[in-house]
């Protein structure tokens, strides 16, 4: 999923698209049009019945565009690809499913999450960081065990978006 990839030295336009995709995801938006003097960025998010694939239709960035609204939205794929949505680890650390060892997990399979729902803790250098879902949907699979070390960007949960 494009919006969780590390931000490397990429063009400002790609970074902008990345940020917009993240916003769409976070606030569950289906369309964003961003126009300034030289650039128009149009993003559309298509839903599939079995699960949305927010980044599937290639976000279109036209530089420059003389007629801002000219570019038509990309056609919907005939059969939208069902791309799994993951909540990924933003850092290297140790994964914990619950706030304390004797407490129940933040989420389990079937839990409904919103973007600001805390789904787990990642501990690194004795700093415990709450990780938010960043998406709206239902937890379909927990991919790591409590206490397990995780890598940067490693998928932690598979989410059935809604």
């Amino acid at each position: 999923m494009a919006e969780r990839e590390p931000e490397t030295s990429e063009s400002p336009d790609v970074q902008t698209v990345r940020q917009l995709v993240r916003l769409m995801h976070r606030f569950d938006l289906s369309a964003i049009d961003l126009t300034n003097e030289r650039t128009t960025i149009r993003l559309r998010r298509w839903r599939a019945t079995a699960g949305a694939a927010p980044a599937a239709p290639a976000p279109q960035a036209t530089v420059p565009s003389p007629t801002p609204a000219a570019a038509p939205p990309p056609p919907a794929p005939a059969r939208p690809a069902v791309e799994p949505v993951y909540i990924r680890s933003p850092m290297v650390g140790t994964f914990y499913e619950s706030p304390a060892p004797d407490a129940s997990p933040y989420v389990t399979v079937g839990s409904v999450v919103r973007p600001d729902t805390t789904v787990c803790l990642i501990e690194a250098m004795k700093v415990f960081t709450e990780i938010n879902a960043g998406v709206t949907g239902t937890i379909a699979e927990v991919l790591v065990k409590s206490g397990q070390a995780v890598e940067f960007d490693q998928p932690l949960f598979r989410v059935e978006p809604s």
């Binding site: 004795k126 700093v127 415990f128």
Partner: protein, 327 residues
Amino acid sequence: MTVPVSTQPALNIRLLEKLRSAAGPQAVGELGANRDRVLADLRTLQAFGFGLTWLDGDRVAYVGPASRLCPDQIEHELGTVIIGRRIVVWNRLTSTNDLAARLGATSGNEGLVVLAEEQTAGRGRRGRSWSAPVARSILMSVALRPPSRLADLPWLTALGAVAVAEVVAAAGVEPGRVRIKWPNDVLVGSRKVAGVLVERGAVVVVGIGLNVCQQPDEFPSAIRSTATSLALETGRDPLDRSELARALIQALDRHYLRALQQGPGALNEAWRSRLSALGRLVRLQTPAGTLAGRLADADLGAGLIIESADGTTQRVPTLSVLDLDPV
């Protein structure tokens, strides 16, 4: 319902300080113009728990600190800018970190300090509870809302450890024996005197547990051989926990302000110079596997330099270190 101790009437700490710094007993008449007022203030101090002795009915001497934390004493001439703008002291809490996180969500509570005499669900390192007998240690949590450049993990981890190490050294422990065990436990010699636990949600909470008054039999048997307290290390008893809490708040504030002005690197040397593993053979756990060698150098930002037996060195980013143990 637990009532915060800070609802007590204000104490005349200036009077207390005058008595404390005096060489011997003082005549009541020497302590203030209004004799009745001085007597009333002395009685209030005594009622709170400060140790005062009366001699021939008219002279009074300071004999020792109150056995409980005194918010007025902690706030007296505190002089900090951010940390300690508000201080609350509770007799009993589930966890000082939890309360600091809840109250710290309000931006006006940046720098809030929560202290408790007792925690019913204190957290230490994951999977272990932080246990402490009532009123024998300092259990403190600070709510911070650092700007993003100061929100990085290594820096937050080091902040608490460096501040505690300075307070421990200033309390009379030989400074060379005060070490920081990766990443943020504070040791005297090889025994743990304090632990730091940072939690980061909507707000950053730095939680500190510092053993102050404990005698060996007050530690759970499982940690008796690896734990220590300031009383055990300095041979001083009783120690004034309110003074220590104030010193700790001041140290935290000093380092926090310096980092705000000079950047997170300002903390590095204080942390590095006390790192117990520096120069030693260590084993590192990283997501990529285990790595062994001599810890040649450590920098919160740049990472760790590990020197292999054949003299080659490699740099490991600080954030890739899951664990570091002496070999």
